[in-house]
């Protein structure tokens, strides 16, 4: 994905009201961050920062400037002063752009559009916190990943990138995540926004991310309006991604079974996230995007 060329921002999603609401969310996020949740997410790394962390024995090859001479005067042992390294957080938004995400009931927003708005809002908050932000759309794989952006001034570039994401393809999460891990070696928070309609499931993908040192976060986008059958009777159901056709006679009882199955499916997503140590939020399309963002804040783990 090229991110340097000027592109048009989608007005239907990212209008002035949206931007104003995002600004409010950013302010709200700072308030939440200072209330003591900071340490929940940030991991520390010993390095060359300014805040003292510990001592350790000198070894040949170490920088002699780091030797604590005062401690040597007291103990006659060469010890090095260690400082806590302040590392920029990388936040990756893995955005599902498969065909299933584009489906919507008549006159309603699609999951894809809603995921764009949520991603934009969370990106703005991350940029405001000087985190590195990268948006990675995926379906059967990922395109060339964009360079991580930092600073609030990059927000409009993020919006342009989001406006330019092409929709389509089948959902293959594991393959996409493997490709992502190859291209983005820097560890960080990985926010997965998808309906997770992948026959292969989600568990392996989340475990893989955790194994590679990423911190996965699952935003399961659901559209419950699709759980109400538009018509009953003899139907040929066509999978929008694979084109497979299943013929059936759709009855209310069968529709009820489908709802139950869907609930079981969402339960599977949550269970998979829990097993991988990831946070999982179910994002209903019926919720406005700002409530979704707030829900993310409340769940913790996102705000620095």
């Amino acid at each position: 994905m090229a991110d340097g060329s000027p592109r048009k921002i989608r007005d239907d999603l990212f209008d002035a009201a949206f931007l104003g609401r995002v600004e409010q969310l950013a302010l709200l996020s700072r308030r939440i961050a200072t209330s003591g949740q900071r340490a929940m997410r940030r991991s520390r790394k010993i390095g060359s920062g300014i805040e003292f962390a510990d001592h350790r024995e000198y070894a040949p090859g170490d920088d002699p400037r780091a030797i604590d001479w005062l401690l040597y005067a007291r103990t006659e042992r060469l010890q090095l002063r260690l400082y806590e390294e302040e590392e920029d957080l990388s936040v990756y938004f893995l955005l599902d752009r498969s065909t299933s995400m584009t489906m919507a009931a008549d006159g309603q927003q699609s999951l894809f559009d809603r995921s764009l708005q949520v991603t934009a809002a969370l990106s703005y908050i991350s940029l405001s916190n000087l985190d590195r932000v990268s948006v990675v759309p995926f379906s059967e794989g990922i395109e060339a990943p964009m360079r991580p952006l930092r600073g609030r001034s990059q927000f409009f570039r993020i919006l342009r990138v989001l406006s330019d994401v092409k929709q389509g393809g089948r959902t293959e999460i594991h393959r996409s995540i493997e490709a992502f891990a190859r291209h983005q070696p820097r560890r960080g928070l990985v926010v997965l926004l998808s309906d997770f309609y992948d026959p292969a499931g989600l568990g392996d993908s989340l475990r893989y991310l955790a194994f590679r040192g990423y911190e996965p976060m699952v935003l399961h986008l659901v559209d419950r309006s699709l759980l109400d059958a538009p018509v009953l009777g003899d139907l040929a159901l066509v999978d929008c991604e694979t084109g497979d056709v299943r013929e059936l006679c759709l009855t209310p009882a069968l529709m009820e079974n489908y709802r139950k199955a869907f609930d079981g499916f969402t339960g599977e997503i949550e269970r998979a996230a829990r097993e991988a140590g990831a946070r999982c939020l179910q994002v209903d399309l019926a919720l406005p995007f700002d409530e979704v963002v707030m829900k993310v804040f409340r769940a913790g783990g996102f705000l620095a």
């Binding site: 299933s100 066509v238 999978d239 299943r246 059936l248 069968l254 079974n257 489908y258 869907f262």
Partner: protein, 671 residues
């Protein structure tokens, strides 16, 4: 073939109609509305759960199982229907009228197996087995059943009538014996059909070892069942050619007897016997030839005839030929017998002939009629002497000046009584329509070619006229080269290729020699009288010494001079002759007694003919009955043109139900 095509056409039409209906149904089927869903796998999961949970599914599966069972039942019933029909037919035949045709042809006298030390002994013949089958069939039948017992060979004989009680019928079986004739199945079936005419619930049962291979007879009974005995038991012989028994059969047979009198000596000759060994191993055997002027059957030849030759030989498996030369042919009737070599005293035989009826062969030599020969010559004594040397030639010699062709024409033969004309150095033509021999060296044809002091060789040694003749060391001063016409046979030629002697068979037998006996030493050679005797016999149409044998079981018509009322027929084994049937100057007869049959004229003349067994009566062959005509429910096989049996419709119904069930299955699978 036409029936087969008709059936194929019907099947194709039916298949086409069914296919059309299926296509129409497919086109008219209700279209399902297509709805796009985000995740089809979830629906698949729902369907799977729904199917396994639904109680109704169990009932529908049960229904499906019942339908499948019904289909299986239909299929089994359809496939078993022919057998059931037969079984039911056998049961319901209890109150029917049944004609039992018992094959008593020669091959039914065979004992199957491998006798002697090499195999188990077989107690009875095929006829014994057939009689047992008849007794069993009659014994199991309800008492209300009526049976008519016929024995059939070349003719049909009623052994037990409709009204005969069971004991009488079974008693009649005791008197049944085999004959030497073959089975005329068509005649037997016609007789059965006549006997069953107008009766309810009729059936014809043929008990046979296979019978001769027949094409479909003109008229078959409405129902026919075949009980096979012997090696063809349990075989379906309706299709294919007759086959030999795979394990062979210990049997030696005389298949054919040929006699050729020696050239110039009709009292002696060569006997060629064709032998058949049905076993699969060589057999030491004894071949004996007996000759007699009076004996007629094997018994008489064994007792009265002079034994001419006994030869011990090894008969190889299959058909082989034995040539016995210099046999005394002074008696006109010959009998040849083949028998296995007797074992040494105290030892069991290794080979027991299981079909003794074909061990004998008979032959009758043709009568040597006196032949009247007209010789037209200027006084050629060589020629005259050669003709006089023959015991059958009655010579009439005249000078060329007295020869007028029209006088000796064929139409004047009753008046002049000449059989053959011989012209010596005459350019005049042979009499119209008369067979003749022309010797002519100098032709009037200016284009005629001649050869000086040629070397003449025989070109057609197999021709009846040149048997035993050689021109080796025979001198010819000069010959005329004959230009043969198409169809002529060059008997002898001067080297390299100049025809000297030519025989012409049509329109009248003629022989032309391009030589003069005064310019060759052929006249003084030993070959000359042989040559003239054979030439006269060939020209008169009496070159074959052996009269054609009569096939047993078939009607005979024998041509003989002076046939009329008062003739009598003396069969072999009979002491007194019976009046012979005659018609249009021919002797008519039909017999199944193997041997020499004799017809006696009122004035004491006799006509003798030997018989031969029907070739189809070989005991080692598994024979077929041929294809029954349409509509016949024969157990020998089905006819493609016959109306379709019930089971085929059952099969069709089962297939349709199967297709319907499959459709239902597909329908249910989607919910």
């Amino acid at each position: 073939m036409t029936g087969l095509l008709t059936t194929v056409r019907e099947v194709l039409i039916l298949a086409g109609l069914i296919g059309l209906a299926l296509v129409l149904l497919y086109l008219l089927r209700p279209r399902r509305r297509r709805v796009e869903v985000p995740f089809g796998a979830l629906w698949q999961r729902v369907l799977a759960q729904s199917e396994s949970r639904s109680v109704g599914k169990h009932w529908r599966r049960l229904l499906s199982l019942l339908l499948m069972a019904a289909i299986a039942g239909l299929l089994v019933t359809a496939l078993a229907d022919p057998l059931l029909t037969r079984a039911v037919g056998a049961v319901t035949a209890g109150s029917s009228y049944t004609v039992l045709i018992l094959d008593t042809s020669a091959s039914m006298g065979t004992r199957d197996g491998r006798g002697g030390r090499l195999g188990p002994k077989v107690a009875g013949t095929r006829l014994d087995e057939a009689l047992g089958a008849v007794a069993e069939l009659v014994g199991k039948a309800p008492s209300s059943d009526r049976f008519l017992l016929l024995s059939a060979t070349g003719h049909v004989q009623v052994r037990s009538g409709w009204g005969a009680p069971r004991p009488t019928l079974l008693q009649a079986l005791d008197g049944v014996q085999t004959s030497s004739g073959g089975l005329d199945l068509q005649r037997a079936l016609a007789a059965a059909d006549q006997a069953l005419a107008g009766r309810p619930r009729t059936r014809t049962v043929l008990i046979t070892d296979g019978g001769p291979a027949l094409v479909a007879p003109a008229k078959w009974p409405s129902t026919l069942q075949v009980l096979r005995v012997g090696p063809s038991r349990g075989r379906s012989g309706a299709k294919g050619e007759p086959a030999l028994l795979p394990q062979g059969l210990d049997n030696l047979a005389v298949a054919d007897v040929r006699v050729r009198p020696a050239a110039g000596d009709p009292g002696r000759g060569t006997v060629t016997v064709t032998l058949r060994n049905d076993a699969r191993r060589p057999v030491q055997a004894r071949l004996s030839i007996a000759a007699s002027d009076r004996a007629q059957d094997a018994q008489q030849f064994g007792q009265d005839a002079a034994l001419r030759r006994v030869t011990t030989l090894t008969v190889l498996p299959g058909t082989s030929r034995q040539v016995l030369e210099d046999v005394d042919l002074s008696a006109a009737r010959l009998a040849v017998r083949i028998a296995p070599e007797p074992p040494p005293p105290g030892k069991a035989p290794e080979f027991v002939d299981l079909a003794p009826y074909d061990d004998w062969g008979f032959a009758v030599l043709a009568e040597r009629h006196a032949l009247h020969v007209l010789l037209v010559t200027e006084g050629n004594l060589f020629l005259e002497a050669a003709l006089l040397a023959s015991d059958r030639v009655r010579l009439h010699a005249i000078l060329p000046s007295g020869y007028k062709p029209e006088t000796y024409a064929w139409k004047e033969r009753v008046r002049h009584g000449i059989d053959v004309v011989v012209l010596d150095q005459l350019t005049q033509p042979l009499p119209d329509g008369m067979p003749g021999l022309r010797l002519l060296l100098h032709s009037e044809d200016p284009k005629a070619r001649y050869a000086q002091a040629p070397e003449v060789v025989v070109r057609a040694a197999d021709h009846a006229l040149m048997r035993g003749v050689s021109f080796q060391d025979t001198n010819f001063d000069q010959i005329r080269v004959i230009a043969p016409l198409p169809g002529d046979v060059v008997l002898a030629a001067a080297l390299p290729s100049a025809p000297v002697m030519v025989a012409r068979a049509a329109p009248v037998r003629t022989v032309e020699w391009g030589l003069d006996l005064l310019e060759t030493d052929l006249g003084g050679r030993f070959a000359m009288p042989i040559l003239m005797d054979d030439a006269v016999a060939w020209l008169a149409g009496e070159e074959e010494p052996l009269l054609a044998p009569l096939e047993l079981g078939r009607p005979w018509a024998i041509e003989a001079a002076g046939v009329g009322p008062g003739w009598k027929h003396l069969e072999p084994g009979q002491k007194e002759p019976k009046p012979a049937r005659t018609s249009a100057g021919q002797l008519l007869a039909a017999s199944e007694t193997h041997g020499v049959h004799v017809w006696l004229s009122p004035d004491g003349r006799e006509v003798a003919r030997a018989t031969v067994l029907p070739p189809a009566e070989s005991p080692s062959e598994i024979k077929v009955l041929g294809r029954p005509p349409p509509g016949v429910d024969a157990s020998e096989g089905s006819d493609p043109t016959a109306p379709k049996p019930r089971w085929s419709w059952l099969l069709l119904a089962a297939t349709v139900v199967l297709a319907a069930e499959f459709g239902l299955y597909l329908r249910r699978r989607t919910v």
